[in-house]
Symmetry: C2
Subunit: 441 residues, 2 copies
């Protein structure tokens, strides 16, 4: 906005600083991104340390590199020390390795060892999502002591609203909300008010599973434990919202025959975009030649009754659409946990009935249309209509079965979405079409 | 689990009650769903009121009706009064209207008027998502007074971690986290520590917009205000996570040519499933007959060079896949806010380049394959290869432009996904194919 720019040019730094303190870090980051780089750096340096760290995490990654290159080693240290460990680790993962070394050498020893530990967790695991800034209490503390501890240590903690309780050797034994502590008597022991059945995850658990647990139990934060059951960190819901969106994007990309990518479209180069598309396109193009072979095989019949060719697109498209409708419902149902493998028989039975209904309706409509608007041989109209019905039924069944098979083979069901199913049911629909035509004509 | 069942049959109710208190309400709800209905009801009645209300909200909706029918009017009143208002309203929206009347007549007058007010907000608006259980503070309170107020009123509040500050006529003027209050001096005034730039939404705002704001600003809760800027409720992030998943499901369904439905697949009847599919299938089936007309138009040529027909499936499938790849990336990018309308020229330019690269690669591969494995006339191979390149280029361009056009006409870009684009590019690819064939052969 012009205001920051104006303050800067008038040299009224105190009004600028007051304005900065009023603004939300997210909006501030967006305004900085619009500014000229030199100005941006000046405004960035005018912010208090904690605000600078907050704004920094919301800045675009291209600016991260610019800022890290432009500020002093001492400023980098302050910035990293002020950031939450998970944000700092995210930053380091996106910077070039020489810069990472420079930063790690400049942070305080305690932060450095934490960052190093975090960088070891595999990508997309619970360990890579977590932060170590949580409040740990002991079972034998009183509520008053607990509140004192929170007051004194809370400033640095990412969330103080759920506190985790451990025994003396840091094994997780319970959890208690700040709300519960506040509403209890001062002398009450933490062990008396804590919940002992805490939902937790292991450091190596996949982030998709973690997100499912968050949704199932409506949690705001969840503790992460190591193999021995000792608490090593927590995951907070704001990071989980991002995981959910990323997993949904991945599913949609796979369902559209794209190699999934974590990069934003606008920031991805033409080469990478092309690479992500070409593998599946090649596989599907080659598979489609089998469909072509079926046509070649029946070339003689097609030459005699060339009008048959005119119905190929309609049959192929309808088959593909029917298959992808069924597949999408099943894939999505499994992704959000509404559909389970054990239901497979019920699903197939349901799709068979839906296929019958939809197939009958489409076939009847199509037959009427052909009778009214086209003046083909009745046998040809019948042949198209029968094929349409059988194709819809088959497409619905295959569309629901393939994702189930993929899931039971521990493959991602999204792989079985529209493009692959379209290719398969295209071939089958043409086989049926020519077989029916050969019988009737 | 058998334990609850065992306790019940041994008549050891106190051990059963102790076990109930230990368990997580979500797990408890899932176990109740597995039990025989009479037993389920007995266990349900053994729970303390607050636990019963929590478990009830997690139960399957078919059990809601059963329980409401089986318990006394007094028990219903206790249950509803104990539930958060937003959960109670959700319950009422799913029950038959005679039951809703019975329940509303049985609740306390204050709950009743609240429920009635909530039932008036349009579905999927911020108003329908919000709850009235929040902590409201005044600007001139001290931190000590604020903490006292939270301690005394907090039990019934859905979240006390962000408190909202109003002036005397309930206009929202700021927000302050419980953390901030706890960490400040007792005598500090709320107006000194509150943030005055609060992100809020209006009651009539669409839930998708609300979810975007939550994600943009990493919020845990957000206040909802009326036209005069007075705070009427808050929305909490656990409800937003559900909104995000529902909106993603809706997008995927629309992208697969399904009429979006909020009901779970396993609980939706065959009639409804068929109805949700048939409208789009009919539209697409009829559109595909235009593609058939193109083939009919070139029937004579096809009769002479029948081998041309064998390449139709490959050309159509590749065109459809290319178009849907581009469309999916653009639709998703717009949904998560990474792609904006103003970027349209950049997007088209990017897709043109990607289309060139991908088209060249596929065309070259295809030409080589035809030269090696098939012994057609060279002109036919050339004709297929040229068409393939032009089709890919065209499909990528159309695939990215249509969602942009939809968005700028305030339509849902997801409408422009694979099935519709497939139908359009199918027709275009055949037009190109036959035009090229006529020129070369």
């Amino acid at each position: 906005m012009s205001t920051l720019h104006d303050f800067l040019h008038k040299g009224s730094f105190s009004s600028l600083q007051a304005r900065l303190l009023e603004m939300n870090p997210v909006d501030l980051a967006r305004e900085l991104e619009q500014m000229e780089r030199g100005e941006m750096l000046m405004v960035f340096r005018l912010m208090p340390k904690d605000l600078a760290a907050a704004v920094f995490t919301y800045l675009d990654s291209s600016l991260h590199q610019h800022i890290v290159e432009s500020i002093t080693a001492h400023e980098i240290r302050e910035l990293i020390d002020e950031m939450f460990i998970d944000d700092a680790v995210d930053l380091l993962e996106e910077l070039p390795s020489n810069m990472v070394r420079a930063i790690i050498n400049n942070t305080s020893p305690s932060t450095r060892s934490l960052i190093n530990a975090f960088l070891k967790y595999p990508e997309n695991s619970a360990g890579s999502l977590m932060t170590v800034e949580f409040v740990g209490l002991y079972e034998d503390m009183s509520c008053k002591d607990a509140l004192e501890l929170i007051r004194h240590s809370g400033v640095d903690k990412e969330t103080i609203y759920t506190c985790y309780v451990t025994d003396k050797s840091r094994h997780l034994t319970g959890a208690v909300s700040l709300r519960r502590i506040l509403l209890s008597d001062n002398d009450c022991l933490i062990s008396e008010i804590m919940h002992s059945s805490v939902i937790s995850v292991h450091t190596s658990e996949d982030q998709e599973e973690v997100a499912k647990k968050f949704q199932l139990y409506d949690l705001l934060a969840m503790p992460v434990v190591d193999k021995e059951g000792r608490i090593v960190g927590i995951i907070t819901i704001d990071d989980i919202v991002d995981v959910i969106e990323a997993e949904n994007t991945e599913d949609m990309e796979i369902m559209a025959a794209l190699h999934p990518s974590e990069n934003e479209y606008m920031k991805t180069g033409v080469w990478e975009l092309s690479r992500n598309r070409i593998v599946w396109l090649t596989i599907l193009m080659i598979s489609a030649t089998f469909t072509g072979m079926i046509i070649s095989h029946y070339g003689e019949m097609l030459q005699q009754v060339v009008v048959l060719a005119a119905f190929i697109p309609m049959l192929m498209d309808t088959a593909g659409n029917c298959g992808s409708q069924a597949a999408t419902l099943i894939i999505r149902g499994m992704a959000v946990g509404e559909i389970h493998l054990k239901d497979w028989l019920k699903i197939v039975w349901k799709e068979l009935r839906v296929g019958c209904l939809v197939g009958l309706a489409l076939a009847a409509l199509n037959f009427a249309r052909l009778q009214i608007f086209a003046d083909n041989n009745l046998m040809i109209d019948l042949c198209v209509t029968i094929t349409l019905f059988m194709t819809v039924l088959l497409a619905k069944t295959i569309g629901c079965i393939l994702p189930i098979i993929a899931k039971s083979c521990k493959l991602d069901p999204a792989l079985m979405a529209s493009p692959l199913i379209t290719t398969i049911v295209d071939a089958l629909s043409l086989l049926i079409y020519f077989a029916v035509a050969q019988t009737l004509l």
